[in-house]
Symmetry: C2
Subunit: 340 residues, 2 copies
DNA sequence: AGATCGCGATGTAACGTTAAAGTCGCTGAC
DNA sequence: GTCAGCGACTTTAACGTTACATCGCGATCT
């Protein structure tokens, strides 16, 4: 391995001068030239482990997600990696597998100095775990369930996004609007409750009462669950003209369920999802959805984290940022007039 | 920061003994107990930067994929992370964005990014770049284009898998079997050519000539491209009874295209893909496909890499491993007899 | 009895970098 | 003529860990 020593010897200066050249500090042009040349011919590369030890940094941030192979998280990870890379950080991914324990240990182990900071995408932790998040370590929480926690928190505009989605359906003249989501007993804690809130607000705003019979719980958040939820909805004998789905995955399943029942999307029943995963652009018909500001979230999460890291600690009060959501209208909610 | 020094002082032993306790070396039970207790009360954590500097290791391996947000690569990454984690390594992901340059720089930069090794999933590099891969650094190449390179190489059984897929269709009594794939001019270099090879072999084996008109090139490897490829196939006026698609993504699009044309899958036209992405289980009908031994690949890639790392260098000749492929029969190729 | 061994424990010297505190010679202000 | 100030460079001392050599001591072998 070529070290600064070797470069220093080869160019007749001290190691410190080599360090200065590399870190762009005051060095005369001639010296800098000689050093750079030596670096080039010897093929010197700085040893990050040594630099990290000395500087107390690793240049790596941890990203904990439930699983990288679900579209939503894969796409989130891709964006975060891109932003972090631009800021000079590498991203190591940990999978927490939807488990509360793994989420906690990931956070706890992170200070193990392997990461400069962590972005933790939370699904298992709840408000009651806020105390456990009390770590003196740069961290940003992505998720919906924890408010007033001790760490920076970045959430989606769930209520507003859901309201806008529902209003979009209302604006297209639909009135019998179903929702596929498991609304939890404990109010306002999970994503589902928040989005249901927006759905309800929109309906009430249009003078329509929420019919509990039009809200159906899928058994999980997969495509088949979405399809089956639609079947149940239809079996109940209701004459629906639109469905708002908790996520795009459910929505894609729901569209299939509607097709199975001989209903056309959007003519008979409009469908809208939430998340704006890439797949939503590729379904036929393409799926209208709510973009939860993916890019804003990825960028902001990385920025917030890096700011904490730069300040060497968790100095400053925890911040709460809400990413703006926006309806993306595609074919699955296109009014008849628009189609030739 | 709590260091070994602190622990040593607190338990009345030398730093070296603390190190020995942590690394599970010969220490008497009593001493070990005292040290562990001190570690516990002080909340000591080993500093990986220091350990890495000393050991010349980082415990992190790099995984370079074109993009994490495409299902195939996301699922590959998830598996590799799982296996690496089990072996005590973290995985940092880099996105090469389908570019040959980024693939090369990732490999070149790896040793100063302080990865212990890299798994490089290659799409842009070709045989002609083999010389550029001449690095003295633990690396494993995943991909189809590079043979006889200087690095360990792990490939899929493309020809065999494609042959088996086609034979599966033949076995179900189909004879007019189309293929959706862009077969390159230069033979046998890319995935498409290799899979076409298998398709041709199977047909010839059954005494059927390859009809070039039944092989259609999609404009890329997305769902819409698959749908349009099917349309073109049908527009050509052929009476096909099965389609073998280069990838599952194309196959999912193809199924949609067939549905648009009023053809039933599998009754009128059977469809089979390649890759066994998770989505294939969730389409309706579920998609038959070829499992390219994802789990074998992930496990083997990690094992091969770790072995190189353990041997401290690239000692030993490059190895070439082919992952076995296996047809996964689902609804999209189910014979009529099986369905009630 | 003396040599040898093994075990537990220790002391020392790095690993390659950078922060901090000099050193040295030169310029320019008073 | 003196000296503060500055730029360019060097010296020194870590950062926290582990490899290696060594040491004391009781047990085992010849």
């Amino acid at each position: 391995m070529v070290t600064m020593q070797d470069v220093a010897r080869a160019s007749g200066v001290s190691v410190m001068t080599v360090s200065n050249v590399i870190n762009g500090r005051n060095v005369s042009p001639e010296t800098r030239g000689r050093v750079l040349e030596a670096i080039d011919t010897l093929g010197y590369r700085v040893n990050l482990a040594a630099r990290n030890l000395r500087k107390g940094r690793t240049g790596t941030i941890g990203l904990a997600v439930p699983e990288v192979d679900s579209p939503y998280f894969a796409q989130l990870a891709a964006r975060i990696i891109t932003h972090a890379e631009a800021a000079g950080f590498r991203v190591a991914i940990e999978q927490t597998g939807l488990s509360r324990e793994k989420e906690l240990t990931t956070l706890a182990q992170s200070r193990n100095y392997q990461y400069d900071g962590v972005i933790l995408s939370v699904v298992g932790l709840g408000k009651e775990d806020a105390a456990l998040l009390q770590v003196d370590f740069p961290a940003v929480i992505l998720g919906e369930r924890i408010f007033d926690g001790p760490l920076d928190h970045l959430a989606m505009a769930n209520v507003e996004g859901a309201r806008a989605a529902t209003e979009h359906l209302l604006g297209a003249g639909r009135r019998r609007i179903a929702m596929i989501a498991e609304v939890e007993a404990e109010p306002d804690s999970g994503v589902a409750s928040l989005r249901f809130h927006g759905y309800r607000d929109a309906l009430l705003g249009a003078g329509i009462a929420v019919d509990p019979d039009l809200v159906v719980a899928p058994r999980n958040v997969t495509m088949p669950a979405g399809r089956d939820a639609v079947r149940e909805l239809l079996d109940r004998g209701h004459d629906i003209d639109a469905v708002f789905c908790l996520t795009d995955t459910l929505a894609i399943g729901a569209m299939r369920g509607l097709a199975d029942a001989g209903l056309r999307v959007p003519d008979d029943v409009m469908v809208i999802g939430f998340d704006d995963i890439i797949e939503a652009r590729f379904t036929i018909p393409s799926l209208s959805t709510v973009d939860p500001g993916h890019d804003f979230m990825a960028r902001t999460a990385v920025e917030m984290l890096i700011e904490r890291i730069e300040r060497k600690g968790t100095a400053g009060p925890p911040r709460e940022v809400i990413s703006p959501a926006r309806v993306v209208a595609r074919e699955s909610t296109r009014p008849a007039a628009d189609r030739a």
